[in-house]
């Protein structure tokens, strides 16, 4: 092949991987699902975090949380369950250690925020307003803690109200992370939109249970846990599709994304960006591989911008 032809070819298929999520430009549409990636340090031994559009951190609260007793994790066919219970070092150590660590990389920082009460969430949002982070993701959908979390995520009124409250303190764009453990995901998406959310992300894990038949005991110390992995992917695609049609907000789609194909499916269903979670445990380099895979898909089908593919399913 002549050099001339090569250049011509590249010029006509230039792919722009950038996406704009609520005013924040990511270099590509791939981030990490909260809780599967820590604050990136462990995975930085396996990939250059600068290859990701954003790193979404594990949930952080106003004070350190010890989380649930063990066993906290279990494998299920095509996925896993967890009931870690949002163990986290608290916002002070997080700001001192994790934010400067992530800032070394050319990637956006999304801080996932958890809490037991409205006040907890607002305290963290207020603290982060003075920090060098790009977006907040508010976790109102963790099925593994008794107070807070899911209590805000299953009632549209409570979801709207917590969104409003957090928005009063947050300086960065606020992503509300939705639970699939609801009757209508559209209603929940509309509720947080009414509350002033800048974006939504979904789905968190589905509540499940696993029993050890030989010992006749619950496998997880918490009895129930959140199911994630490829097994839940079709449910997530359906919910992303519904949410994307219900609201005008940007949608970050997640739930069982293990491959480029899964990520593309999510984008075609209406996701502006995608988060990869459980797959990180199967392959620590998967996020970067999916980012490259999306680019290659775009070249194959002649898409020049990611936004041209969003919601394209007919």
């Amino acid at each position: 092949m002549s050099t001339e032809k090569k250049i011509g070819c590249a010029a006509e298929k230039t792919v722009d991987m950038r996406v704009n999520i609520a005013g924040v430009e990511w270099k590509n549409p791939v981030t990490t699902a909260s809780g599967t990636f820590g604050s990136g340090a462990e995975f930085s031994e396996f990939i250059d975090l600068g290859r990701l559009g954003a790193v979404t951190t594990k949930g952080v609260a106003n004070v350190p949380w010890a989380g649930n007793p063990t066993p906290r994790v279990a494998e299920v066919c095509g996925g896993m369950m967890n009931a870690v219970g949002l163990q986290n070092p608290g916002i002070d150590l997080f700001c001192e250690r994790d934010i400067p660590f992530l800032r070394q990389y050319d990637t956006k920082i999304i801080v996932n925020v958890c809490g037991r009460s409205e006040k907890d969430y607002c305290e963290v949002a207020e603290r982060l307003s003075e920090e060098d982070v790009d977006m907040l993701e508010i976790n109102i959908s963790c099925p593994n803690v008794k107070e807070g979390g899911i209590a805000f995520g299953q009632d549209p009124k409570a979801a709207e109200s917590i969104t409003k409250a957090v928005k009063r303190y947050a300086k960065q764009p606020v992503i509300m992370k939705l639970s699939p453990n609801v009757t209508s995901i559209s209603e929940m998406a509309k509720a947080v939109e009414a509350g002033g959310a800048d974006a939504v992300s979904l789905i968190n894990t589905l509540t499940g249970m696993k029993i050890d038949i030989h010992r006749r005991r619950f496998v997880l110390a918490n009895k129930t846990g959140g199911v994630s992995g490829p097994a839940i992917h079709p449910i997530a695609v359906r919910m992303v599709y519904e949410a994307a049609h219900a609201v005008k907000l940007p949608v970050i789609g997640m739930g069982g994304i293990f491959s480029t194909q899964d990520a593309i499916e999510m984008i075609l269903a209406g996701a502006d960006a995608v988060s990869v979670g459980t797959a990180n445990f199967h392959n620590p380099a998967v996020t970067a591989e999916i980012a490259e895979g999306i680019e290659s898909y775009m070249r194959t089908y002649g898409f020049t911008r990611v936004s041209d593919m969003v919601g394209l399913v007919e």
């Binding site: 063990t70 066919c77 163990q87 070092p89 459980t278 445990f281 199967h282």
Partner: protein, 260 residues
Amino acid sequence: MAYREKETVRVLAQECLADSIFSMWMETEAAKTARPGQFISMYTNDAGKLLPRPISICETDGKEKLRVVYRVTGEGTGTEQFSRMKAGDTLDIIAPLGNGFPLERAKGRRVFLMGGGIGVPPILELAKQMECKEKQIIVGYRDGQTFLREEFEQNGTLYISTEDGSVGTKGNVMDAVRENGLRGDIIYACGPAPMLRAIKEFAGDNHMECYISLEERMACGIGACLGCVCQSKEKDPHSNVKNKRICKDGPVFLATEVEI
């Protein structure tokens, strides 16, 4: 910089050592750097089983060969799938992981190397590499199927306990210590939680330094998911609570640092 990666490795040999206990040699880069007490994450080739199985390292040749001795935990499990693999088959691993035993603490001291059940295998490489004044290996089995026995005999003074009394002391490893009137300065141990609790208590009573290797259900194996924590005596600097990650901060801990 060079990044770590999941490695596809070739099985060199597979052998059944006892009921449900298998030995697998594999060809891996990790053999160069692996230390006693570290583990490897083994992935099945089954699309329905996504999480790695953390398996302790039994032996390494320091060059290209690494051995795991593992228990098949039941029908249809990932470990059963590993046990069906033959020389020439391939599997994915991430290795080595975890901290390993602090070998240097043993210099010039009388040592207990203690293993129970499927906690026996990691004691072998430890015994092979250990330089100390007196190497006393105390391993406990359920019955007369005393796998790895010959290898241990070549690497120290061996004491065996069996639950059914068919070989050595009837009972557990602590019974073997008492029956033989063993004395030591430092303990390295791996085994089930009740055994480790008894060893920790014995070490405390006898003012012995004691390192124990813990296990817990894991997901990531690299310290990110916080699935496999144990409780620590003091606040841990990384977690900022009284929890340590077994996969990353361990699996080997100074017994007095952790609540078991």
